[in-house]
Symmetry: C2
Subunit: 163 residues, 2 copies
Amino acid sequence: MASNRDKSISEQIDDIKKQLVAKGYKLTQQREVTVRVLLEHEKDHFSAEEVFLLVKEQFPEIGLATVYRTLELLSDLQVVEKINFGDGAARFDLRSTDGSHHHHHLICTECGTVEEIMEDGLLRLEQQIERQYGFAVTDHRLDFQGVCKECRAKQALNEQAAG
Amino acid sequence: MASNRDKSISEQIDDIKKQLVAKGYKLTQQREVTVRVLLEHEKDHFSAEEVFLLVKEQFPEIGLATVYRTLELLSDLQVVEKINFGDGAARFDLRSTDGSHHHHHLICTECGTVEEIMEDGLLRLEQQIERQYGFAVTDHRLDFQGVCKECRAKQALNEQAAG
DNA sequence: ATCCGTGCAAAGTGTTTGCAGCGTT
DNA sequence: AACGCTGCAAACACTTTGCACGGAT
């Protein structure tokens, strides 16, 4: 069960290039830098604007539209996942090529941080859904809202001070 | 374990009115019609625009902004849940008052239909997250993407015809 | 008389698109 | 020469906001 995390960034870019070329697309400078930024920030969930700003540091002439187009292209190719946390802007997440990505999110309603947690066994539930509803599950998304450790600590302190 | 589904629409409106009044808000005509539309279409996931059009049938003078404001208000009061399926517009879903809402979604990537399925035991997982990450879960959201029964049937037919 | 809530239109935000120019084949 | 890709700006779609008016307390 080899994961992407084992590969170097340039190896991963190579992989993605192959996917692009296989479908008749080119890995232009702009696209490469965009992919690189995503690879270098695997743990974040950047908006298009955020990706744009980082790409601009390495490639100042790039336009926002190109970043949008690249992200959409990568989305279509299932290289990145487009997620919407409901904060007004779509966010983009690298997907591992082996399809085992499926991380879940802990979204803190106090400070807004989004933490990723690893996959667990939702497989049984997916199989049940397939049996029960005839629905062939290809992907899922599980987000938890709540209050993170740090904010809980702050809250506890405040209550102490107030009480 | 009494659910909202047992109550008549006017009873439910009454409940919501109480919640509004308790927080210093009024249940105006506009708000009532909006709530009524949501109650009458419990199973759908309407966008603000869709709600607006339906409300307009019963209350033609209403403005789109009022519907937005009402939906936001109801969201704040946790009467409705604002969901984003990533299709560009937020969608709104009644929440049951007993807090047992938590339905999940089956989103078909072929035809786009969204089906709701009932709650199941994610409680154990939530408890594990609390232990493991110190994250106090207050809510969650679980969406499955895949192909629904109907589209699978169509696909099967097409393959038969082609093969 | 006050104040919340409303309708309308304007502004705002994130995203997409039309188009002319560029680079690579 | 053809064609995909890009940058720019304009267009777009959804949502929020400013403001003056209206209705209820």
